[in-house]
């Protein structure tokens, strides 16, 4: 497995390289972009934005609510002791447990969705360069079909073309 990539000092150059790659027939999914920080002011950063995380978090919250409702009610009925003249199943205090469990499960569902969809922990990447942590933006293609065309597309002013793998 081999990869051809270039490092760019700014988002505009990286965007031009991506445009050139796409114009050369490389699909967007085949282009890898890596950066050391979120580059929210660039078009290439707009990919993969839609997520089901909000729905999963809400579903997690709902599971927490149902679980807490079952737990409080079941335990109060399993050990039916009268306390402070409150009913055996006391909804006012139970609401506190239900609220906390809703939030806890919602948070855990969001984190789980993050780990699964962002593939964390992930395998050792084929395409990676530590220089992205110093502000560079990596644009590359793994196993390019036409290496010469890809290299031409990546050759923007200021770019450093590199190879990795076999």
């Amino acid at each position: 497995m081999s990869a051809l990539y270039a490092l760019y000092a700014d988002g505009d150059s990286a965007q031009r390289a991506i445009n050139a790659l796409q114009a050369g027939g490389v699909s967007r999914d085949a282009i890898t972009v890596l950066s050391g920080e979120p580059i929210e002011d660039q078009e290439f950063f707009e990919t993969d934005k839609s997520t089901w995380m909000w729905y999963f978090a809400s579903a997690g919250g709902l599971v927490g609510l149902i679980f807490a409702t079952w737990l409080t009610r079941m335990t109060e009925l399993a050990w039916p002791i009268k306390t402070g003249n409150m009913p055996i199943v006391s909804w006012w205090p139970n609401l506190i447990i239900m609220f906390e469990m809703t939030m806890l499960f919602g948070i855990l569902a969001a984190v789980l969705t993050l780990l699964v969809t962002a593939r964390l922990p992930g395998p050792r990447p084929v395409l990676y360069d530590p220089e992205i942590m110093d502000g560079k933006i990596l644009v590359g293609v793994v196993n390019p079909a036409n290496a010469a065309a890809v290299e031409r597309a990546l050759s923007q002013p200021g770019a450093e073309i590199r190879r990795s793998g076999n």
Binding site: E40, W54, T75, I96, G106, L108, P121, M133
Partner: protein
């Protein structure tokens, strides 16, 4: 951000991780010795029984529960403030958030320890957990102490995740900057982070969801801590305003704790280029606001009790204002209102040293406030024959002091092994989302450009 700026930022913020001075070892040894002394004292208390403390009839809650409420309050510095600033997209939050979130995680751990210390037999702590024991007894969900367990568990879990998730990209940075064992350890912690747009989007979405979820949880935690008191028919406890009063007090003391921590980091880790005076001024304004809110709550509480003239409540009120607790009460008023109001309302005095002085005052004042909520009411319940006094014994004082050392020690160790300022968030300040308005963009950059 240019390559040179990015590299300088990383170098500056990774310096504490990569270079260790002898002062670090001396400080860790000193704080560690105090913590060990505290642990030893706790073991001594377990061995000899609770009789060696000053806790006795009718005052069964004293220093330990005061510390519990105080530390849970301090924990409101971090996640809550960080979540609010993140949601409103305040640019000046970037250097502040992690310093604050760490306080939450450690203060919650220390706070949650006190009910366990207070149990006397801490090994029976697991009775609070909802599981069917051999006697088929479940926790009583109508008890506020069980509410505490659930609220603190949720807040601690949420806060730790809220702290740890944004650390992953920074772990990747440390992984790429180090070699040997350190490279391997940070490589594991980085979870294979690459920095694809998809990973950044998912991280931002998760942080957004958690910020939304954690704010009501933070409010609920201290409201529930207040319920430990207000659910009991004890003079000056049984009040409907205790929930918001406690939450306001918690945020108040939390901000004070954050200012002190930031000032210490700025000085000792040489972070002057990142923690600007404007950050302290902004937090100072928040502290001033909370001081005024605190004074408003105290006035509302005291006026209502004075006007109601209910004998048992008046007895507690007067013992705090005129009786044996008066020196503590008036110290509290000076520390929580007079000092912060005087310093922070004057622009000239709202400097870094001014904010730190006010914050130390607030921490002292808020600890006294917690003490004055707990002890005088228990010592002056409805009938005078059941009144009593409380004097703390050395064991309680040592354990209290050691928790302050524990908090400092944990903070020092954290800032040694993790970048205390989120490096990627600082860099991201140069790439604001186009969705932000022009005015918001200006605000967005404030934290980075204001010297």
């Amino acid at each position: 951000m240019s390559e040179a700026s990015a590299r300088k930022l990383s170098d500056d913020l990774l310096r504490p991780l990569l270079q260790t001075s002898w002062r670090f070892y001396v400080l860790v040894a000193f704080l560690g010795a105090i913590v060990l002394m505290g642990l030893g004292t706790w073991a001594y208390q377990m061995y000899n029984g609770f009789g060696i403390t000053g806790i006795n009839h009718p005052i069964f809650w004293a220093f330990y529960i005061t510390n519990f409420v105080f530390w849970i309050g301090i924990s409101h510095a971090g996640t809550l403030i960080s979540a609010i600033l993140r949601l409103v997209n305040a640019g000046w939050r970037r250097p502040v958030t992690r310093c604050a979130e760490v306080i939450t995680a450690f203060a919650l751990m220390i706070g949650a320890l006190f009910p366990i210390i207070h149990l006397g037999r801490p090994w029976l702590f697991f009775w609070l957990m909802p599981y069917p024991s051999s006697r088929q007894i479940w926790p009583n969900f109508r008890s506020p102490l069980v509410w505490d367990f659930f609220a603190i568990t949720t807040y601690l879990t949420g806060s730790v995740l809220f702290l740890v998730l944004p650390m992953i990209p920074d772990f990747a940075l440390v992984r790429d900057r180090t070699t040997g064992l350190r490279h391997r350890i940070y490589g594991v912690l980085a979870l294979g982070w690459q920095g694809t747009p998809k990973q950044w989007h998912r991280l931002e979405s998760a942080m957004q969801i958690m910020a939304i979820a954690i704010i009501p949880v933070a409010v609920s935690v201290h409201t529930i801590v207040s319920f430990d008191f207000s659910m009991a028919p004890v003079p000056m406890w049984h009040s409907t305003m205790f929930g918001p009063y406690f939450v306001a007090g918690a945020i108040f003391s939390g901000i004070a704790g954050l200012i002190i921590a930031m000032a210490a980091l700025r000085k000792f880790l040489h972070l002057e280029a990142y923690l600007h005076p404007v950050h302290f001024q902004n937090l100072g304004k928040l502290l001033l606001l909370m001081s005024l809110l605190w004074a408003y709550f105290v006035f509302a509480e005291r006026l209502t009790i004075w006007y109601g003239n209910e004998p048992s409540e008046i007895a507690v009120m007067y013992v705090t204002q005129k009786g044996s607790f008066a020196p503590l009460y008036w110290t509290m008023v000076v520390c929580n209102f007079v000092i912060p109001f005087t310093i922070l309302s004057l622009r000239k005095l709202r400097t870094i040293p001014g904010c730190v002085i006010a914050s130390f005052g607030v921490l002292i004042g808020m600890w006294l406030e917690r003490f004055l909520i707990v002890v005088p009411s228990l010592g002056h319940k409805y009938l005078p024959y059941s009144w009593g006094v409380y004097r703390p014994r050395p064991v309680e004082i040592i354990i209290t002091i050691s928790t302050f050392a524990a908090m400092t020690l944990l903070y020092v160790l954290f800032s040694k092994f993790v970048p205390i300022i989120s490096i990627w968030e600082m860099k991201a300040g140069d790439h604001p989302s186009p969705a932000l308005s022009a005015a918001a963009s200006h605000e967005h950059a404030l934290g980075e450009t204001h010297a």
